[in-house]
Subunit: 336 residues, 4 copies
Amino acid sequence: MVGYGYWGPNLARNFMEVDGSSLIAICDERAEKRDIASVRHPGVKVVADVEDIFRDDKIDAVAIATPISTHADLAIRALKAGKHVLVEKPLAGTVDEAKRIVEAAETAGRTLMVDHTFVYMGAVRKVKEIIEAGDLGDLYYVDSVRVNLGLFQHDASVVWDLAVHDLSIMSSWVAAPPSAVSCVAVSHVAGLPDDVAYLTIYYPGSLIGHIHVNWLSPVKVRRTIIAGSEKTIVFDDLALDEKIKLYSRGVTRKEELVGDNLIPLAYRRTGDIWIPQFDQTEALRVMAGHFIHCCRSGERPLTGGPEGLQIVRMLEAAERSVSQGGSRVALESPAS
Amino acid sequence: MVGYGYWGPNLARNFMEVDGSSLIAICDERAEKRDIASVRHPGVKVVADVEDIFRDDKIDAVAIATPISTHADLAIRALKAGKHVLVEKPLAGTVDEAKRIVEAAETAGRTLMVDHTFVYMGAVRKVKEIIEAGDLGDLYYVDSVRVNLGLFQHDASVVWDLAVHDLSIMSSWVAAPPSAVSCVAVSHVAGLPDDVAYLTIYYPGSLIGHIHVNWLSPVKVRRTIIAGSEKTIVFDDLALDEKIKLYSRGVTRKEELVGDNLIPLAYRRTGDIWIPQFDQTEALRVMAGHFIHCCRSGERPLTGGPEGLQIVRMLEAAERSVSQGGSRVALESPAS
Amino acid sequence: MVGYGYWGPNLARNFMEVDGSSLIAICDERAEKRDIASVRHPGVKVVADVEDIFRDDKIDAVAIATPISTHADLAIRALKAGKHVLVEKPLAGTVDEAKRIVEAAETAGRTLMVDHTFVYMGAVRKVKEIIEAGDLGDLYYVDSVRVNLGLFQHDASVVWDLAVHDLSIMSSWVAAPPSAVSCVAVSHVAGLPDDVAYLTIYYPGSLIGHIHVNWLSPVKVRRTIIAGSEKTIVFDDLALDEKIKLYSRGVTRKEELVGDNLIPLAYRRTGDIWIPQFDQTEALRVMAGHFIHCCRSGERPLTGGPEGLQIVRMLEAAERSVSQGGSRVALESPAS
Amino acid sequence: MVGYGYWGPNLARNFMEVDGSSLIAICDERAEKRDIASVRHPGVKVVADVEDIFRDDKIDAVAIATPISTHADLAIRALKAGKHVLVEKPLAGTVDEAKRIVEAAETAGRTLMVDHTFVYMGAVRKVKEIIEAGDLGDLYYVDSVRVNLGLFQHDASVVWDLAVHDLSIMSSWVAAPPSAVSCVAVSHVAGLPDDVAYLTIYYPGSLIGHIHVNWLSPVKVRRTIIAGSEKTIVFDDLALDEKIKLYSRGVTRKEELVGDNLIPLAYRRTGDIWIPQFDQTEALRVMAGHFIHCCRSGERPLTGGPEGLQIVRMLEAAERSVSQGGSRVALESPAS
């Protein structure tokens, strides 16, 4: 474990408890964090210098939960040292850094995975399963709202703080790579980063994604609509008991002869609603287990390097769009 | 009453029942509509030629509920004939037409009003009252969602069909004129107009408006957040009993000395929620009464010509933005 | 139509519009009600003396919507005159009167039906269908809450005003006749009837019914849980879109060996939730159509004389229980 | 701490962390529980014999979280040994035992408190505050629903398991002692205790309490209405953000001259809704702090011996009512 600040303890706990891994060492530059780690994890080696981890042959894999700007350096050194690497989201602060990490992993032939935790939520995986089974038909739009009265961050806007979740979730659902992103964002508190943002994600064809993230809403909303030609899902993460609703509703196109012309019409179709159950395992636990599995099997992770890079591409494009007044910014293809 | 199709009968009923007006004549080109009007309104003159209304000295005011493309011609002729005029929303299909109607009203010295019905809802007026009392502090954003599994229209996109309501409501709340509009819209049913749209309204300063309208949602949502520096309103038009909630919540900016630097911070403030009651009178009735009042008193209507023109400006700008890939389109100032 | 006060106009409208019937005459003792009826129904005979209806050979059936105390006299005279009879709920104010009406219908060989409108709601019929298909397993309990800030009545307590709906709905669902009723009711406004009441309905075995009715609740609730050994329905009549939810949940009994003893245990079972669609036709229209159908075919109505009598038995027993401090009052068997 | 099973660890944690107390010793008869306690609380004495606690002079107060049937013996011995005593709810399994504990506390001059945790919830205390300020006017009824798909217990019915919470909450709100209780309860799983129950609590005047508890509901509900002549509270413990709603609604009695008679009428009054904030401190922490405060100050606890005895009286009366078919069982006055 490298970095024992806000998120590190959660990762540490999960890697201690999940099958197939044991926690060997924790590194943090800050003495007070090392003290906490020592008390909590009696048998674990606690170090200040990350090289004490990279050099340790008993260690197969490293989890990095340090500030974003340090991800590239630490991840690349770990990969070069022959470790499998899990990086806290986002993979890096720039596309350039993210690409360098991905290349280092390929060169080293080691597993690289990004901790996009929300992708591993039972509800998100259930939606993925329904989409992949083709139940929704053609995808029409994905509309996501993630707002609350939030903790402001100093260095990261609401886009990097919250939209990163929606982008990674959306990317796990939609197979096609997006072609462009646009973003409008506003700051209402002088000297602090943007607190309200609207992102549009352009996919090939008529599929469109939209994300509303906001730290200034008095009510908490976590709701995503995934609409298709046949059925539509509403995913409400705050519902106690009914997080996923599958609606057998939509419109059917027909043509009608008006005079000599065939005129297109849309008819509403109504139908039952189905609320499926899904796996309730904690997302972080599932993520940790998946990482261990990929390290051992060599299987490509669901949220590996290329997926992590793609999210950074979208965040960077959103940032550029904001600075250009909300205009559409093309995304390079994931292959490049 | 000119035009007795979908909306005309509602207007007719209200002008019969509201104090201070009586229904004298109904005009419709279509014989079958005239038959219906004759049966429903025994004592009322039913005509095919609109000149029979314009020439009638006993008629002081005319309500026009015909297709949008005919508004300009009919309204201008009615004004020239010395009638007060109520036009169904939107005022016209283009800014040019809308301007000509407004000029005609000024020249004629007659009342011109647009039937932006939703502006006259008790809940919308209550929100306006709270905003104008200054309870919200500085306005931060207005976020409106109006989605459902809708009736598609042939000739008008979801922007002209639904966003017109949000634009007129928003304009009645926000005193400052918007400077620009951008809009992303997509059609998912071949040959039919755009069914999903996202509009952004740029106001001076950091105030931003955003509207999500959509005919392809399996759930109906009619929810607007009006956020301010002090308090925030959530207006849910589908709530049975609690349409308006006023939250005494927000963030407070403070500065903290970190080393030698004053760093800005945002603290969350929590507080009570208040659910005020408001006038339950049918919006259309209030609108009809306001029109009669303005005709008699010469007072400028809440949704008069300039306000109606402004909405058409925003709709036209949204349309242009869609055709330019969602880029920002500046609005000319309302005075011009 | 006999009686043109509060409910009569609704029945009149439905019998005018439903297939297979036409409205021939309306009777009301009160001149002002006759005036209203004349204006609304130009071609219909409006009379003051009910004998003008009973004697009219063109009239096959009579709907009675007069004060409860007059039901027995009017219904029996109509039946003796050879008319089919629909009586507004409840069938009568006492069990004795109700029995005399049922006997008169049997003697006359005419259709007798009670207008328990709610039994004909699409949602209530859908629940009946699910129960009769056996999907719920053994019925465990039916718990119904029907509360709001109500209009107080002078002459009828909240039990006669509101619980009559739950009793008739419950009776349409549960095949077995109840064995006893108990009821606690309280009046909080001096001189006015009981405004809060709790009824318990005892069925054979471990099935129990419970009804909470209340005119003094600031929130409106209309919710019924129908629990079974396999599945459970929650029916919320105020939900916009999801009135019926079918939960695949419950408990499973198992036995476990503890020492030498087999100990019974209950395990929770969880599962999907299903929200079925159902017929949206107005209940009153379905009821009117069913009455016409039974008159023509001789089929026994869903809410015929015996069913109406049973509801009156339960209301009278509830009244007796209230006067006895809430003790259990046995019900005579429906056959007697 | 005496008893380290299901609830003991929670109490132990709170008494370790709350100001003014430290945890000195834990007693449990079961070796495996003592092992857990030793691991979790390194500096704390862990013993098998309760006398090792009662004899320890450094110990001022004892918390008892053992099976109900052992409460009386343990509490009385602790009091005789000069300890202040906190007993897990309910105080005892019978009124006789409860009385003996209360007497022992009076004789010993020590603090006796029952852990009716829910009475210390911020929301429950806020409701108490509103009632005591007189805002509701005269109390009309308290209606409580506490249902879910529950864990069945072997030895205690749903009344002892769940209704005990509502009874203690209600008793903390209503100053007047209840005069009688009736209860209907049913078991649906052979060999297991009653799983559905309805209790009625009779207060002097027209105030009535009603409790619905249920282990067989597929949906979880925790909702209480506290209705008064002026205002009414709806307390929904599962609401995320709006647990307490205060409605300025009700009915107003008026008299109207009809002929020569003054007839009473009830008019509906509507008004705003207010959602107050309240203290979010964990109830168990508040309870622990209150116990320490009472031990030190000699102040009578909010849920002391007499209050605990009163709850046991009501539970025992409910049990007797069930065995008598739901009839009303008088309660002896709290003074006796």
